[in-house]
Structure formats: C-alpha cells, structure tokens
Subunit: 159 residues, 2 copies
C-alpha cells in the first residue's frame, strides 16, 4: 500500500479533474516548486496510482444513444474464458467483469439505438459457444457518474 501526503493528495485532486492543467499552475497554488510537482507525478506514475490521461468523449454526441448493462449466464462455468475472449472481439462491449450472483459475466454495451443493441445481443452475443442467456438493463438515464473520493487518502499529517 502506498503512502500519500497532503501534496500528493492535492495534486491528484487537481489532475484527475483536469489532466491538462499546467504543472506550474498547480505548483503556484500549492506554493511549491514546479519541479516538485513534476517529481511527485512521476512517482505516482511509477507506483501505478495514475496510468494515463484521457480526454473523455461523450458517447451520445457521436451517435451511441443506447447504454446497457447486460448479465450473461453460461451453460457451464468452464466456458467462461473462451466467452470472454469472444466478447472482447465485439467493439460495442466496453467492459467485461466476472461477477458473483445470478450471472457469470457482466458487461457494458454502447449501441447506436435499441435496435442495434438487439442485433448485438441476438446476432453476436447469443451465438457465442457457452452462452446460455442474457438479461439486459438498459439505462434510460445516468443520474450521476463521478470519480472516487480522495478525502480518506492522506495517511500522514495534513501539514
């Protein structure tokens, strides 16, 4: 487990909201040198706390209007690995997890519309060897979507 101090926490809070924020500006606000900001960010990368900076694309704006979570049941548990492999080939599936409960796998799909979603499920997912059935949870609206809190992050003294 990593150790974070107040500076690390503050840097993380800022860059996760704006990955293009100038390091020099962060330095100014925290009243530290910009080389220190640089150093800390390098260490956070080395420790795998942050990996990459991404511009967030609004899926709706580029035509993907239907978002749906889908639970997948398998004929037998041993199919899991090969099913995951086949699911990975479908570009509209953005996330795939092994889960507890009624389903073996739980995936996230973005499709152009409901019809497109239906096609992906019936013509692609259901054709995969080992898939017994699926249940869809189509998202009518996303009420909120946010990043994890960092308030509890600082183990040391907060200056």
């Amino acid at each position: 487990m990593n150790h974070f101090d107040y500076i690390d926490q503050q840097i993380l809070l800022q860059i996760r909201e704006d990955a293009r924020k100038p390091f020099s500006q962060i330095a100014e606000e925290l009243k530290i040198s910009n080389s220190l900001v640089h150093q800390r960010i390098r260490k956070l990368k080395e420790n795998g706390v942050i990996n990459k900076a991404e511009f967030v694309i609004d899926e709706k704006q580029i035509g993907y209007k239907t978002k749906s979570y889908v639970g997948i049941r398998l004929k037998e548990a041993r199919y899991a690995k090969s099913v995951v492999n086949d699911l990975a080939k479908i570009p509209e599936i953005l996330e795939c997890n092994y889960v507890s409960g009624n389903y073996a796998l739980f995936i996230l799909i973005f499709a152009y519309d409901n019809h497109h979603l239906r096609n992906i499920l019936y013509e692609q997912v259901h054709q995969i060897d080992g898939v017994a059935g699926t249940d869809s949870f189509i998202c009518f609206d996303t009420n909120f979507k946010r990043q994890i809190t960092l308030e509890s992050l600082v183990k040391g003294k907060q200056i």
Copy 2:
C-alpha cells in the same frame, strides 16, 4: 448530429489515449499546422464531443479493492427521485442509472473490501426511504475496460 472528418477522427483517437500529448506533435504526425489542431479541439469542445481531460486513478492502488454493481428495487416507482438524491450523498457510489428490467436503479460501488461494501449496503442504502431491496454483483475481476470505437465516426471522405 455532428460531422467529423478524417482530421477530427485522428485527433480524437490520439487525445483520448493521451490527453497530455502535445498538440504540436499531433500536428506533425497529421502533417497539419498546430493552430489547426487547436482549432479543431476547440470545436470538439464547443460541440460537447469532448468535455474534459482526466488522469485515470487506479482505485485498487488507493485501497478500494471491492468493485460491485448493485441493482436496486423500490417499494414504489414514485420514490425514484428522492432515492437517487440520497444515493448521491454516499461517496462510494460512483454511478447511478435508471434502468429497464427487474431493477429501478442500477449503481456502481467501490469499497475498501467486502465488509465495507456490506456496511454501505446495509447501513446506508437499505436505510433509504423507498428502497425495497438490492442485489449485488461483486466483480471478481475486470477482464477488460476500454473506450468506444471511433472507426465508424468519419462520415466524409477519408482523404
């Protein structure tokens, strides 16, 4: 619906993978001026296609080991709005959607461990007025997690 050309597509492909990639470098690779890169990105922002750049934080590295999707059933549909309001106050809930199917709401929770998850569900979520019950889909492993494909984005000629 927006119109995208080859340049827009290429810029999006690059900055969504590395939001800190110098615009001048993108310009060089696409053999255009860096002011054009700048212009295009400004337009993509104006159109809401991209909104912000975020550094991706690895939740596991900062102590959140348990990821779980949770379906929520309500006593009556009319509770939906106030329940969403109360869910938003729980910081470990990172996403909340209205969905079709067996559940009214579908949320994503990150907790320190299974015990912490149990506490959040029993002591917080289940106490909310209108919540009838929940089903948890704890993620044992995330096989993949990726961004949407942009191959189909270009409506015009690809040079």
